[in-house]
C-alpha cells in the first residue's frame, strides 16, 4: 500500500536534516563514482588489448621462407627456400580438416596511376580466402573470386584511401587503373580496421601476378586460419606439425630457425588471454574493494544516524508510534538516500569517463565504459547493505523503552 504520509515524513526528515543526508549520500555516491571510473578505465585497457588484435583473424598461421642457416641432408647452408603452387596445394591437402581459410601471398610494389594521378602502393596477389584472413571489409563492388583465378583476370581490389588518392572526382569501380604499365579493372573498394597503411593496398588474383610478373608459380608466403573449434593446444600442435612437415619437404634441418618460419597467432592469443583474464581479476578485486569500502561506510553512517535519532524515536514512541513504523521510517529513508546517491555517483562517473575517455587513448585506454547493469547491481548491493546495516540498529532502537530513549540527551 502506498502511504503518502509515510513518504512525506521521510522526505521531510531527509530535507530537514540535510547535512546528515548529504554526508551519507556522499559516501555512497563516492563509492559508486570510484567503482564506475575504475571499472571504466579497466574496461578501456581491456578494449585496447582486444583492439590490437581485431585487425587480422586471431586464429591465423603465417608461413614464410628464408635462407637455410644449417647444412642438412647434403645441402649447404645459405640455400634459399622458395614456395611454389605445389607447396600451397600440399599444405592445403595435408591439413584440409584443420584449415578454415587458406591463401597464398605474393608481394609487389607498384606504381599506380589514373588520369594523371599516381602513387606507389603495396600490391598483394592473393587467393579469394584472403579476404577473411585479413578481415577486409568490402565497401563497394566485390573481392577477388575463383573465376578471376581461373582466367588470370586483370582485376584489382583497391583500398579506400587508394580510391581517395587517385579518384578525386569520380568513383573507382569499373575504371581501369595502370599498375606499372599494365591496366587493371577496379572491381572493388575495401576498408580495413588495421589503419591507414592497410587501406593503401591493392589486391589482385595470385594467378594473374604469377603469369604477368615472371611467368612462374612462385609464392612468397602461405597464410591460413585454423578451424575455430580447435582449442589452444590443438592449434599449437597444428602449427608445429606444419613446421615439421614443411621442413621435411624442403630438406631443412629441424633446428633451422630461418628457412621455414611459422608464426602462429595462437601463441600470441594465449598471452593476450592470460593478460585480459588477469586484468579481469584485478578489475574484480578493485570493484569488490570499492564496494566493501562503500558498505562499511554506509553501515557506519546508519549506526550513527540511529544513535543520533534515538531521542526522536523516544518521542515518537511516546506519541504512539509502533516499532514497525520506526523501523520503516529509518530504513526507507536510508534506502532512498542510497539509491539517489548511487544514481548521482553513476551519472558523474559516466560523464567523467565520457569527457576524459578520448584523451585517455594515449594511455592505452580505449572506449572506457561500464555496463549499466553492473553499476545498477553495485548500487543495489549498496542499498541492500545499507538496509541490512540500518535494520539491526533501527530494530534495536525501536525496541528500547521510550523512557530510555528520552533520557538520552
Amino acid at each position: 500500500m502506498f502511504d503518502l504520509d509515510l513518504w512525506r515524513e521521510i522526505f521531510q526528515s531527509i530535507n530537514k536534516n540535510r547535512t546528515r543526508s548529504l554526508l551519507s549520500g556522499f559516501t555512497v555516491a563516492f563509492a559508486i563514482l570510484l567503482f564506475t571510473i575504475l571499472f571504466g578505465i579497466a574496461n578501456g585497457l581491456k578494449n585496447t588489448f582486444k583492439q590490437a588484435f581485431v585487425d587480422d583473424a586471431d586464429n591465423a598461421i603465417f608461413i614464410r621462407t628464408g635462407r637455410t642457416t644449417k647444412a642438412s641432408k647434403g645441402l649447404q647452408a645459405g640455400r634459399r627456400i622458395q614456395f611454389k603452387n605445389e607447396d600451397f596445394n600440399y599444405v592445403k591437402d595435408e591439413f584440409e580438416n584443420d584449415i578454415e581459410y587458406i591463401t597464398a601471398r605474393l608481394y609487389r610494389n607498384v606504381n599506380a596511376s589514373y588520369q594523371g594521378e599516381q602513387n606507389t602502393y603495396d600490391l598483394r596477389a592473393v587467393h579469394p580466402d584472403h579476404q577473411y584472413l585479413e578481415k577486409t571489409i568490402i565497401q563497394e563492388g566485390r573481392y577477388i573470386n575463383f573465376n578471376d583465378l581461373q582466367n588470370h583476370s586483370k582485376v584489382v581490389v583497391i583500398g579506400r584511401l587508394v580510391e581517395a588518392d587517385l579518384f578525386s572526382k569520380t568513383t573507382a569501380i569499373g575504371k581501369y587503373i595502370n599498375l606499372s604499365g599494365i591496366p587493371y579493372k577496379v572491381i572493388g573498394v575495401f576498408a580495413d580496421d588495421g589503419g591507414d597503411d592497410e587501406e593503401r593496398r591493392l589486391y589482385i588474383p595470385i594467378t594473374t601476378a604469377q603469369y604477368l610478373y615472371g611467368n612462374n608459380d612462385y609464392i612468397d608466403e602461405i597464410n591460413l586460419t585454423y578451424n575455430q573449434d580447435l582449442n589452444f593446444d590443438q592449434a599449437i600442435a597444428l602449427g608445429n606439425s606444419i613446421t615439421t612437415k614443411l621442413k621435411n619437404r624442403f630438406g631443412v634441418s629441424v633446428s633451422d630457425q630461418r628457412a621455414i618460419r611459422v608464426w602462429n597467432t595462437a601463441e600470441g592469443t594465449k598471452q593476450i588471454d592470460v593478460m585480459t583474464s588477469s586484468l579481469t581479476v584485478i578489475i574484480l578485486v578493485i570493484g569488490l574493494g570499492t564496494l566493501i569500502a562503500g558498505i562499511v561506510g554506509i553501515s557506519n553512517i546508519m549506526i550513527f544516524i540511529v544513535k543520533e535519532r534515538t531521542k526522536e524515536i523516544g518521542i515518537r514512541k511516546a506519541l504512539g508510534a509502533s516499532p514497525r513504523s520506526i523501523v520503516s521510517i529509518i530504513l526507507i529513508e536510508s534506502m532512498i538516500i542510497t539509491a539517489i546517491a548511487g544514481y548521482v555517483g553513476l551519472l558523474i562517473g559516466v560523464v567523467v569517463i565520457e569527457i576524459a575517455g578520448p584523451s585517455l587513448e594515449d594511455y592505452f585506454i580505449t572506449n572506457p565504459g561500464v555496463d549499466n547493469s553492473l553499476v545498477f547491481g553495485a548500487t543495489l548491493t549498496l542499498i541492500i547493505a545499507g538496509a541490512i546495516a540500518g535494520y539491526l540498529p533501527a530494530k534495536k532502537a525501536s525496541q528500547i523503552k521510550p523512557i530510555i530513549a528520552l533520557r538520552n540527551d
Partner: protein
C-alpha cells in the same frame, strides 16, 4: 480512572539492584489534578513513567480506564499511549526539525488521521494554547514557555483521558511557570485528569491533591485547596 496496587519496580545497577518503588497503592478519579512529590530518588518519575507506559513495573497491578496494563507488546503499548495518554516533559521533547503545527499533528498521524483533518485539528489546539501565529515556526525559534505550550497542545491533540506531566515547569522561570500552570489548571477545570511530577511546593499547591513519595513508598496522600495560578500572572 486509574488504579494501582502493590506496584514494585527495581533497576539493576551492575550486580546489585536498586529497589525504586516498594509497593505503591494509588487510585485517581476522573477530573482529579494530582501532584506527585518527593526528593530526587524517591521514585516519583519512575511511577509517572510506569503510569505513562514508558516503563514497565516488575510486579503489581495497574488498571487504566478499566484496562489492565500488563505484559503489553510494544505495538499495543503504542496504541494505548496514543489513545489514553498525553505527555508533557520537562525538556519539552519537541522534534526539532518539525514546526509547531507538525509537532502537534504527530500523535494524530500515528492515529492514522488524514493529513488535512489532522492539520486542522492541530491548528485548533495551537489556537487553544495561543500559538496559532507561531504554527510554522521551528522549536528553536520559540521561547521556553512557547515550546511547553506547543508540547501541551501536542499532548492534548489526541484527546487523551489522562495528561501526564513530568516537571512541566522545571525548565521555566517563575513567571512562565505560572502561565503554564494557569493553563494546566484551566484544562483541569474543563475536566481533564492530570498527573504531574514536581518537587516545587508552590507548583504542587496549585494541584488538588498531593501524593508524597519517599524511598519508594507513599508517605502522604492528601487533598489540598487549589491555589489558582492566575493570581500570579
Amino acid at each position: 480512572m486509574l488504579k494501582i496496587s502493590q506496584l514494585h519496580k527495581s533497576y539493576k545497577i551492575g550486580d546489585s539492584s536498586l529497589h525504586v518503588l516498594k509497593g505503591i497503592d494509588l487510585a485517581v478519579e476522573e477530573g482529579e489534578m494530582v501532584a506527585i512529590m518527593g526528593s530526587s530518588g524517591s521514585g516519583k518519575s519512575t511511577l509517572l513513567n510506569i503510569i505513562g507506559m514508558l516503563d514497565e513495573a516488575d510486579s503489581g497491578e495497574y488498571i487504566l480506564d478499566g484496562l489492565p496494563i500488563k505484559n503489553l507488546t510494544e505495538k499495543k503499548a503504542a496504541v494505548y499511549r496514543n489513545k489514553f495518554l498525553g505527555f508533557i516533559f520537562q525538556s519539552f521533547n519537541l522534534i526539532n526539525y518539525k514546526n509547531a503545527l507538525e509537532n502537534v499533528a504527530l500523535p494524530l498521524y500515528y492515529q492514522g488521521m488524514k493529513r488535512k483533518e489532522r492539520q486542522e485539528l492541530a491548528l485548533f489546539h495551537l489556537e487553544k494554547v495561543g500559538l496559532s501565529d507561531w504554527a510554522h515556526h521551528l522549536p528553536k525559534e520559540l521561547s521556553g514557555g512557547q515550546k511547553q505550550r506547543v508540547a501541551i497542545a501536542r499532548a492534548l491533540a489526541a484527546n487523551p483521558k489522562l495528561l501526564l506531566a513530568d516537571e512541566p515547569t522545571g525548565a521555566l522561570d517563575t513567571k512562565t511557570s505560572h502561565e503554564i500552570m494557569a493553563f494546566i489548571q484551566h484544562l483541569n477545570d474543563e475536566g481533564k485528569t492530570i498527573l504531574m511530577v514536581t518537587h516545587e511546593e508552590d507548583i504542587a499547591n496549585m494541584c488538588k491533591r498531593i501524593v508524597r513519595l519517599r524511598d519508594g513508598v507513599i508517605m502522604e496522600d492528601k487533598k489540598v485547596i487549589q491555589e489558582r495560578a492566575e493570581q500570579y500572572v
